[in-house]
């Protein structure tokens, strides 16, 4: 049973060659730009850029097809619910009212609402290729060292590394325990009632959690015995030094930041791009 965390694939592309720190920071920077701005033009630009990178890093679409379907479904659902709750939220945001048509007294369709919902959809979706790129092109081993070099204290970074290390073990144990308990007649399927299901779940997770707890001592002893935590700093076997390509990546990312800030301060007077005035 293969239980690797991400579908990391070894390749030699521009994106793969970047240091993990660079990719982590760029991913975070661009995520924050997209979180900050509500200018659909900038978001589309970043979206197009990340799709370009996606192509560049040779991740096959097949690998993520299922995800994209799920995502589209989710975004569509969110769109419906948003409209159901606040059919005129866009008008509130943009301050104008251009009605297209109406279903009844409450549910009108306005240009502003459409524009708001489309913008939001783009906002949700445009960083997704970025996240996929990050996790498909970063060796999990390099992840903790990247966090540490991005100024996360190394103990925190190592906690993430341990999570990646023991997740497959715990997932396998979960399957084993769950199967064995089902063989004893504990119903884990959706057929059971919610309260029964909660109780039955406990039959599986309590052995799982207590065996993990038993291992905490063992693993921390093993780490102490090999000098973990001796100094305020540590080095990393997997760390990749920064090069020219990393500098280029930072320049590109920071120019997106500059663009978003410039637009917000000098052009659109705020986070929102408002085509209605």
């Amino acid at each position: 049973m293969k239980l690797k965390m991400f579908s990391y694939n070894e390749e030699n592309t521009f994106v793969h060659r970047l240091s993990g720190v660079t990719k982590l920071l760029c991913f975070l920077i661009l995520s924050f730009v997209v979180m900050y701005t509500y200018d659909i033009r900038i978001m589309l630009l970043i979206g197009a850029f990340s799709i370009y990178l996606f192509k560049l890093s040779r991740i096959s679409f097949k690998q993520v097809r299922f995800l994209v379907m799920y995502l589209l479904f989710f975004v569509a659902l969110n769109g419906v619910i948003t409209y159901f709750f606040e059919p005129t939220h866009g008008n509130m945001l943009y301050g104008t009212y251009h009605e297209l048509f109406r279903f009844n007294d409450i549910y009108v369709v306005t240009q502003e609402q459409l524009f708001y919902q489309v913008s939001k959809m783009v906002k949700y979706m445009c960083v997704i290729p970025m996240g996929l790129i990050f996790f498909c092109t970063t060796n999990p081993s390099e992840f903790a060292s990247s966090l540490n070099h991005a100024k996360v204290p190394y103990k925190g970074a190592y906690a993430v590394s341990l999570t990646l290390r023991y997740f497959p073990d715990i997932a396998r144990q979960f399957t084993d325990i769950s199967n064995a308990q089902q063989a004893r007649g504990i119903d884990m399927s959706a057929k059971a009632k919610v309260m029964t299901r909660l109780k039955n779940t406990l039959m599986v997770i309590s052995p799982l959690i207590f065996s993990a707890l038993d291992r905490v001592d063992m693993i921390s002893n093993a780490m102490d015995l090999r000098g973990f935590g001796k100094y305020p700093k540590r080095t990393w076997y997997t760390y990749r030094k920064l090069g020219k390509e990393d500098a280029l990546a930072f320049v590109v990312c920071l120019s997106f930041v500059a663009l978003a800030l410039y637009m917000a301060i000098f052009v659109t007077n705020g986070r929102f791009y408002n085509p209605f005035i």
Binding site: S31, L77, F85, K120, K123, Y124, L162, F174
Partner: protein
């Protein structure tokens, strides 16, 4: 070990394994609820449980890491507003570490303490942090995110309350017995 470390190796390992448990439960043990983006998450009971045992830093971090990795592995991008809210709920639940002493077992008083804290944690996280961030980042309609928030707070408080409490009771009963055993 004379000086008290802020984050000992043991706490770190507990955080790492706790986050892995959180992640496994988050992925495999959810009971979907009728409102989008929310479900019955047993994983928060793990955060509550580890918080009572190892403190707020451990439970806050494990919920944050677990939730962030879950989003990352799922591929739909990290939903920062909810990831941060998870971290906050873990952090607050960890306060029970300072209020609960397992030496006296885990009786009525401790159950009440734990549950008061976890309810506060869930209310703060899902009724304040998550909706406010959702509004700030995505300009979501306020009533939508608060309805989601109320729902998430109730669901998580129930699963933490039921499962977390039972886990702690089981843990305390193990402790008392293992405390002072004589070789027979």
């Amino acid at each position: 070990m004379n000086k008290k470390e802020l984050f000992s190796t043991k706490m770190l390992v507990a955080t790492g394994l706790g986050a892995a448990l959180f992640l496994v439960l988050f992925k495999f043990v959810t009971i979907p609820s009728p409102i989008a983006n929310t479900s019955f998450q047993i994983a928060y009971a793990v955060a509550g449980f580890f918080g009572a045992l190892f403190g707020p830093l451990c439970s806050g971090l494990l919920a944050f890491i677990g939730h962030a990795l879950n989003d990352a592995m799922s591929g739909w991008g990290i939903w920062w507003s909810w990831v941060i809210a998870s971290g906050v709920s873990g952090l607050i639940m960890g306060i029970s570490y300072f209020k609960i002493n397992f030496e006296n077992g885990f009786g009525k008083k401790e159950i009440i303490t734990f549950n008061v804290i976890q309810v506060i944690a869930n209310v703060v996280a899902w009724l304040i942090v998550a909706p406010v961030l959702d509004i700030a980042i995505y300009s979501e309609p306020a009533n939508l995110v608060f309805v989601q928030g109320i729902w998430a707070a109730i669901m998580n408080a129930i699963s933490t309350g039921v499962v977390g409490t039972l886990l702690l009771v089981a843990y305390a009963s193990r402790q008392v017995k293992e405390g002072s055993l004589d070789k027979e």
